[in-house]
């Protein structure tokens, strides 16, 4: 479903701020794979997801989604294949537009937008049903501006939006990190549900090792712009946090201080 081949990305090349954020990352995901991505601050997790989403083009390497080479496609064209939820709840929705308008925008992801109505009557009814399923009390606030919602409500809405037009790939970048623990757990649970119901191929970045182990069928760890750990199947199911830490210090050759950093 997703094939990343040897991608490289350097930020601010030729300046004092030069940063090699991705150094030859390769990753192949099968249809329905749910991979969790961990790694310390600055390891390149967000950069990898941005590379796939097309925020900018990579310096070298190639990316294909569902058999289509997207390496040189601009972000808005790749959006056809990709659903995204960002770390910052502000990023995923249009705050000055209504809840239904946001959903309607998302349901047309990857389609030509013409002079038909932006939101149809039938749509409104079906969105109401979906929002009732979310159980956030949003079903009676269809015409409220999204800017009035809480961070958790927005992330849940963004998740729903990402799945409306079934994406080939769902990218979740620490999408619960800005929420309080209780809300985070709820949004995470919702993510699981949506991924399962729609059988979505998913990449989820998290800083929580336990979440990384519990969710999904595969786990990768990035370090210094490279994938250093890649476990899946039975091996992943049996994984524990201490084992993961040990594994990490072995591959990175780092000491305990780094492990602490990783856990933070």
């Amino acid at each position: 479903m997703l094939e990343i081949k040897e991608i490289w990305k350097t930020f601010n090349p030729g300046t004092v701020n030069e940063k090699q954020a991705l150094r030859g990352v390769s990753l192949t995901l099968k249809d329905g794979d749910f991979v969790t991505v961990i790694g310390g601050n600055g390891a390149g997790k967000s950069t990898m997801l941005n590379a796939v989403a097309g925020t900018w083009t990579v310096d070298a390497g190639s990316i294909s989604i569902g058999g289509t080479d997207v390496t040189h496609l601009p972000e808005f064209k790749r959006a056809k294949f990709i659903g995204r939820v960002f770390q910052d709840p502000m990023l995923g929705t249009a705050p000055s537009m209504q809840i239904v308008e946001n959903l309607a925008l998302a349901s047309r992801r990857g389609q030509r937008r013409g002079l038909g109505w932006g939101v149809t009557k039938e749509e409104k009814a079906s969105y109401q049903k979906m929002l009732r399923n979310l159980d956030l009390g949003l079903e009676n606030r269809l015409t409220s501006k999204v800017g009035l919602l809480s961070g958790g409500q927005r992330q849940a809405l963004t998740l729903l939006m990402a799945s409306l037009q079934k994406p080939k790939l769902l990218l979740l970048d620490e999408h619960t990190a800005a929420l309080d623990p209780k809300t985070a757990a709820k949004v995470l649970e919702l993510s699981d549900r949506i991924v399962e119901e729609n059988h979505l191929t998913t990449m989820m970045v998290t800083h929580n090792m336990k979440d990384a182990i519990v969710h999904g069928n595969r786990l990768i760890m990035l370090y210094n712009g490279r994938i250093v750990i890649d476990v899946s199947g039975e091996e992943k199911k049996r994984l524990t946090v201490p084992q993961l830490l040990e594994l990490f210090s072995k591959v990175s050759g780092s000491d305990e201080a780094d492990d602490k950093l990783l856990l933070s």
Binding site: A79, E101, G118, T183
Partner: protein
């Protein structure tokens, strides 16, 4: 005072015409979140194109259409400078505005004023609006439906209706999403470069239409007629917002508020002039008023913090 009351219908007419320009500004400033300074130039471009074509015998409606089209081309220029060339929006607008000064002069045959000869009654009768009509209707020499307030009012209503429809379409929604959150828009597959260019073209087309109407009203196109248009537009948008935001929640009504804002602005300016202010200070007054109104939201936020929201799922 009597003077002012006598001048009121004319002032309201002009306010309505500027209101159309302000609706154009609303599209870029409020919906696209771009302060587009090209309008100072494209307002005159519309006026110049109209007057030159009309005085050369082109059909009035065709001349108006041409005015709108050249306005849209001006918007296209700003849009491409911003998206294709990566120049910040404000600077793109300034560059277009500067370039348009020469272009406007060229359109007007290198003259700073081109007049419509309204001493010729046949020509005058063809115009949609004219200051003369205000007097003629008052004297009973022309039917009431020829009054500029009525005619420009119809234009404004039709424009609001069309925009209300457009911004409810898929394309219109994608434009609003671009202004609201470009990041989200791209993630939803919207080509934000395209929507920005489209919005700038739409806006400048409307501004040029307003210029063409004002040229008819004043029976002349003048090279400086658009100077400060952006400030008048912003003033109208802000006055409309301050006065009606609690009352009007619907998009069409918001546009109406902009139009009313422009009328209020224009009438107040006329009143200040009638009280004997030196017209040379007019621009300073406008700039001050807009600066104050633009600062209000910032001060409000800074000195009157709102209650902190928590991030729970259920609380909004």
């Amino acid at each position: 005072m009597l003077n002012l009351i006598n001048a009121l219908p004319g002032a309201v007419s002009q306010g309505l015409i500027w209101g159309i320009m302000a609706i154009g500004v609303y599209i870029t400033y409020k919906l696209l979140d771009i302060a587009d300074l090209s309008v100072d130039g494209s307002f005159c471009t519309g006026a110049a194109a109209f007057v030159v074509l009309f005085t050369n015998g082109v059909n009035l409606w065709l001349a108006m259409l041409a005015a709108v089209l050249v306005g849209m081309i001006a918007g296209l220029a700003t849009g491409l400078l911003h998206t294709f060339c990566g120049i910040p929006a404000i600077l793109s607008g300034i560059l277009t505005q500067l370039g348009l000064y020469s272009i406007n002069l060229a359109i007007m045959g290198m003259k700073s004023t081109v007049a419509v000869n309204i001493t010729d009654t046949a020509t005058l009768d063809k115009l949609l609006v004219s200051l003369r009509f205000v007097q003629d209707v008052a004297k009973g020499e022309r039917p009431l439906y020829r009054h500029p307030i009525f005619v420009v009012g119809i234009f404004t209503a039709a424009l609001i209706a069309v925009l209300y429809w457009f911004f409810g379409t898929e394309l219109g929604c994608s434009l609003r999403a671009t202004g609201s959150n470009p990041n989200m828009a791209r993630a939803q597959g919207i080509n934000t470069d395209f929507t920005k260019v489209l919005g700038l073209m739409l806006s400048n087309g409307i501004v040029a239409l307003s210029g063409a109407l004002l040229a008819q009203f004043n029976s002349a196109s003048e090279i400086n007629m658009g100077r400060g248009a952006i400030v008048i537009g912003l003033a109208a948008v802000i006055i409309g917002e301050v006065l009606f935001s609690k009352l009007f929640r619907n998009f069409a009504l918001n546009l109406l508020a902009v139009s009313i804002g422009a009328i209020i602005y224009y009438v107040v300016i006329q009143a200040v002039l009638a009280m004997g202010m030196n017209p040379n200070y007019l621009k300073l007054l406008s700039a001050t008023v807009v600066a104050v109104f633009l600062s209000v939201p910032y001060w409000k936020e800074k000195y009157m913090p709102v209650k902190v929201k928590t991030g729970g799922l259920q609380d909004a």
